[in-house]
Amino acid sequence: MTLVLPAVAKEILGDVKKAYEETSKIPDELLLALKFVFGPIVLLALDLVDQRAVTNVTSPSGRKVFQVLGSSGRLYTCYVACLYCPCPAFAFSVLQRNDGLLCKHILATLLSEAMGLCQTAAVSDQQMTEILLEKEED
């Protein structure tokens, strides 16, 4: 058997995107499906979406990342084509325990992207480099 969960997750996210595009709402059934697949983090991720905590950051060179403002006030950088988040939950739940597919920040990014609820910001290439290299702000 190939991996089923990522395929299911993709399918549901696709449905979310479609539903939101058509009605600007997500039906109850889909929300529950999301919750079934991703578990309790969905609630937290949706809260992040509600708070418009995800920013799509682009630079003139064409690079693109997402920054998620976590509930603690920390900014987490998530990537367009890679499931990675520097948050502790990701390190523990996803990498170490292999309990979940992703953390709430990545899910919030995917959901915001699907629903088109990302904020946008343009930065210089220099700043993008700093973001990508995870340079700590002094």
Partner: protein, 929 residues
């Protein structure tokens, strides 16, 4: 304290009134219980049951209301009783903890009173109150003829106690009560239902728990009159024994606790959090609560009566074939057992992959071969490319216990295959199936990525290309590819005078070095095109230098302008806005709104054959559209062939420059907009603008201005056009303008700023190659002497005019003459060494025998329009010679008086300065037209 003592008295009342002789024995019994607690509960409960049996008899025999009220305190309905009234239950409660088998703590509590003999009796009373209570219950019948004296005994006992003793006693009580609350977790569950917060109440609740099954009749009977007793007696005797059974059954609390484990896992993750009102999180939270209670309810139902639900509609009856685990989720490959149970149209497949959450999986403990029922609402998901559908939302799942099943299945240890963690590569990239992203849905992978592009013949290269600039740019950003191809209509072609660096960085730090960098910056001219896509989006594409080697601006204008072209290997340099690039947006505004309907982003593909029948996707009224507020600056990576004309016909989207008459431009207020016109350059003051940071001026006219009536004021015969340094005029054109005036030029997209026509960065000056018939006519008209405005009080600076007047003075300081080489015009002449009478030209390296004399003279004129005005005019050599030629000269020079009073003009002159205050002062320079 008061409450404690009162409670104590009550307790003693109960204890000592009925069992004065019992205390000793009861204490002993309690001690033995501490050693052998397992035998105790059953005895006690039996005794308790006996008590109830006897109790009803006692009631029938006319027991006192007081006693009944004591018993009534045991009623579940009496939960509202005050703490002090519950003293007896308190003792009862402690003892009942023994019946849970938790004997450790009570025994230690029991030992404590023994250490101090002073309190022995009292402690005995407390410790054994449960057994005494049972006795009391049994004695309710026996002691129907109790006396008041016995109550006095209690009183006495109570009074005999000292304050200190009382306090000690209360302490030990509290200890016991504490033990109670710790040990009796099931009772604690009920605690919240009771008004009293002391632990004794728990017991009451517990008792009520036990008695609630069959004892309602018993207890209520106690409240009734004696007429009912005979019937009740039978009921009671039956219910009491039932009660014991049920109590014993329910005492198995661990099972009850076990059920709590099955609560949905969200409980632990639940936080008291406030969500955004009306937000998705709130929506889900509400749903989750509902779902959770539904699951608990369903599970309760399922565990209480395990019934076979296979026949119910919507229930999936499945046989588990294989199980594996992915990210704590169990995935079971199942086979559908009963097709009829579900709607056949819904489930054509036989095999499914069923997902179980961790909680459900741990509850079901399914293994291959098991039969599972999944109750609705499950959800089926079909994954493209997968043969069997996936079932999710399987909270309502039930493993079917199959007694009839052959027991051949070996009871092997359940080993679930654990799948490796999914790759961190974004497997569900939403962009993949982003239908709207590429409206043509035939987006070509950029050639730089595939590498095969260059080998393809030209005909194949022009494949389907994204028709939206924004989407191409977006996809370029998303896919991370280096370049993209896009098709758009070329609106304008022009040359920009740019810094060597292709674009200005947006970095914050870039401005720091700007000052020093500007001096070193090398400017280059780049061929640029302003393009617009079918969605109305504009972009400026900068093309490589190599384009100049192939043709002039004029060539590219005629080749590309208005055509739909494909731009290959495009990359984004910069996104610019109205504020950043005013000049660009002035031009864009002039091209807005488009005259043809625009396509709307996110809808069906643009009709390729321009038959815009499906116009619902198009903006019908472009006037309502707001002008663009941003524009991407693009560049190409191709050295050549970056632009390909797709269709040789002019696109409907193209808005050619509207050629106005100069007069229209002057008469109408164009505001801060662009205008295009065709005019003859009469005179130019062009600077070599790469070196000198001054603007140049062109003086233009057309046949309409020339033939305009003199009476019409404010319309000059010649118009000055300012050419800023950012406007690029190629050398050929400069030469043409300077040498062959008047020459006809087409000014494309000049800007009018404060009434002055300006040629700016995107203005194109173009020599009219084929004059129109109208212009030929005007050319004939212009073949005669050009007419200029006369110098007057309304003349403005930077204009040309004619002047007439009498010489009123000569500026002697500026009047001088000097010899120059008659051959080369060089004024660097030296006295020839061989012959001091002759001069030697340093540049020609020869002796100048007849040097040309150059003269400079500035005169003051008295003009008829204003006698007070000072008009100073620098004369040209020819005029000076003409003036002086008529006068005699001597070795020292010319006499000023000979020039004064002479009539001059009309002469053409350039007005370089006009000062009106304190008095009118005009600085002129004679020019040749």
């Amino acid at each position: 304290m008061a409450s404690f003592s009162k409670r104590k008295r009550k307790s003693l009342e109960a204890a000592c009134a009925f069992f004065p002789d019992d205390t000793e024995a009861a204490f002993r019994k309690a001690r033995s219980e501490s050693q052998d607690t397992h035998s105790a509960p059953s005895k006690i409960w039996q005794k308790c049951g006996d008590g109830f049996q006897e109790l009803s008899t006692a009631t029938s025999e006319g027991s006192s209301v007081k006693k009944l009220s004591t018993v009534r305190q045991l009623l579940p309905s009496k939960a509202k009783l005050k703490c002090q009234e519950n003293q007896m239950e308190s003792d009862f409660s402690w003892s009942s903890s023994e019946s849970d088998g938790c004997d450790g703590e009570p025994s230690s509590a029991l030992l404590k009173p023994q250490t101090d003999t002073m309190f022995t009796t009292r402690n005995k009373v407390i410790v054994n109150s449960y057994s005494k209570y049972l006795h009391m219950m049994s004695n309710l019948r026996r002691d129907c003829n109790y006396s008041d004296d016995e109550f006095h005994v209690i009183e006495w006992d109570n009074e005999s106690e000292q304050g200190n003793e009382k306090f000690q006693n209360c302490d030990s009580m509290a200890e016991i009560s504490d033990t109670d609350s710790v040990l009796e977790s099931p009772a604690a569950q009920c605690e919240k239902h009771l008004p009293c917060d002391t632990a004794e109440v728990n017991t009451d609740a517990e008792i009520s728990d036990y008695s609630s099954d069959g004892d309602a009749t018993l207890i209520s009977s106690l409240e009734n009159n004696s007429e009912m007793t005979m019937i009740q007696r039978r009921n009671v005797s039956m219910s009491a024994s039932d009660w014991i059974k049920s109590a014993q059954a329910l005492l198995q609390t661990p099972k009850k606790q076990g059920e709590m484990v099955y609560k949905t896992p969200e409980d632990s993750a639940k936080k008291k959090k406030r969500f955004v009102r009306g937000g998705l999180a709130e929506q889900l939270n509400r749903l989750q609560c509902r779902e959770r209670s539904a699951i608990s309810f369903w599970r309760h139902q399922y565990f209480s009566n395990r019934k076979d639900c296979s026949g119910q509609p919507g229930v999936l009856s499945l046989k588990v074939l294989k199980i594996c685990e992915e990210c704590s989720m169990q995935i079971a490959l199942c086979q559908l057992l009963e097709k009829l149970s579900v709607d056949n149209s819904l489930l054509q497949e036989v095999e499914f992959k069923v997902l179980f959450t961790k909680a459900t999986a741990s509850l079901l403990k399914v293994k291959p071969g098991d039969h599972v029922h999944i109750h609705p609402p499950w959800k089926k998901i079909i994954i493209p490319g997968e043969t069997c559908p996936v079932i999710i939302n399987t909270y309502f799942s039930q493993k079917v216990l199959q007694e009839e099943r052959e027991t051949a299945v070996p009871t092997q240890k359940l080993v679930t295959e654990k799948k490796p963690p999914p790759p961190l590569l974004l497997a569900f990239n939403l962009m993949e199936n982003k239908g709207y992203l590429f409206s043509t849905s035939e987006y070509q992978v950029p050639s730089s990525v595939t590498g095969s592009h260059l080998k393809l013949p030209d005909s194949q290269k022009i494949g389907p290309v994204c028709d939206s600039l924004l989407e191409a740019i977006e996809s370029y950003a998303v896919t991370g590819s280096s370049t993209f191809d896009v098709k758009a209509v070329v609106q304008r072609v022009y040359i920009l005078h740019l810094k060597q660096s292709p674009y200005q960085k947006l970095s914050k730090h870039s401005f720091i070095s700007k000052a020093q960098a500007s001096s070193q910056d090398r400017f280059t001219d780049r061929l640029c095109v302003l393009v617009q896509d079918v969605y109305g989006i504009f972009s400026e594409v900068q093309l490589p230098f190599s384009y100049f080697s192939k043709g002039s601006l004029l060539y590219y204008c005629s080749k590309w302008e208005g055509k739909l072209c494909i731009f290959n290997d495009i990359k984004v340099l910069q996104r610019t806005t109205r504020a950043r690039s005013t000049g660009l947006f002035i031009l864009i505004d002039n091209l807005w709104p488009p005259l043809v309907p625009l396509k709307v982003h996110g809808n069906s593909p643009y009709p390729q054959d321009a038959s815009m029948t499906s116009s619902q996707y198009l903006y019908k009224d472009n006037t309502t559209l707001s002008a663009p507020c941003f524009c991407y600056i693009l560049s190409t990576c191709r050295v050549d062939d970056a632009v390909k004309v797709l269709k040789d016909t002019v696109s409907d989207l193209y808005l050619p420059p509207v050629i106005h008459r100069l007069r229209e431009i002057l008469e109408n207020d164009f505001g801060n907009r662009v205008c295009s016109f065709s005019a003859f350059v009469m005179y130019s003051r062009l600077q070599s603008h790469y070196l000198v940071q001054n603007e140049s001026w062109l003086f233009v006219t057309d046949s309409y201005l020339q033939s305009s009536n003199e009476n019409k004021q404010r319309i000059p015969k010649v118009v000055a056009v300012c050419v800023t340094t950012s406007c690029v005029i190629d050398a050929e054109l400069t030469k043409a303008v300077q040498n062959s005036a008047p020459c006809e030029l087409l000014f494309k997209d000049a800007v009018i700023d404060n009434g002055v026509i300006m040629c700016v960065e995107r203005t194109v000056l173009q020599k009219e190659t084929v004059p129109s018939s109208e212009e030929i006519k005007s050319l004939e008209l212009l073949s005669g002497p050009l007419s200029l405005d006369e110098l007057g009080s309304t003349t403005v600076a930077n204009s040309i005019c004619t002047v007439k007047g009498t010489i009123s003075g000569v500026d002697e300081n500026s009047a001088y003459s000097w010899p120059v080489c008659d051959n080369c015009g060089n004024d660097e002449l030296e006295q020839a060494q061989k012959d001091p009478d002759f001069l030697f030209c340093l540049s020609c390296r020869r002796v100048v025998t007849k040097p040309t004399v150059r003269m400079q003279l500035e005169i003051f004129l008295n003009c008829s329009f204003d006698s007070q005005a000072t008009v100073k005019m620098k004369l040209q050599q020819v005029t000076i010679e003409m003036l002086l030629g008529s006068t005699s000269s001597n070795e020292q020079g010319y006499e000023v008086e000979q020039v004064l009073g002479k009539e001059l003009g009309p002469l053409c002159c350039f007005v370089h300065t006009i000062t009106r205050k304190p008095a009118l002062w005009i600085g002129l320079e004679e020019i040749n037209i």
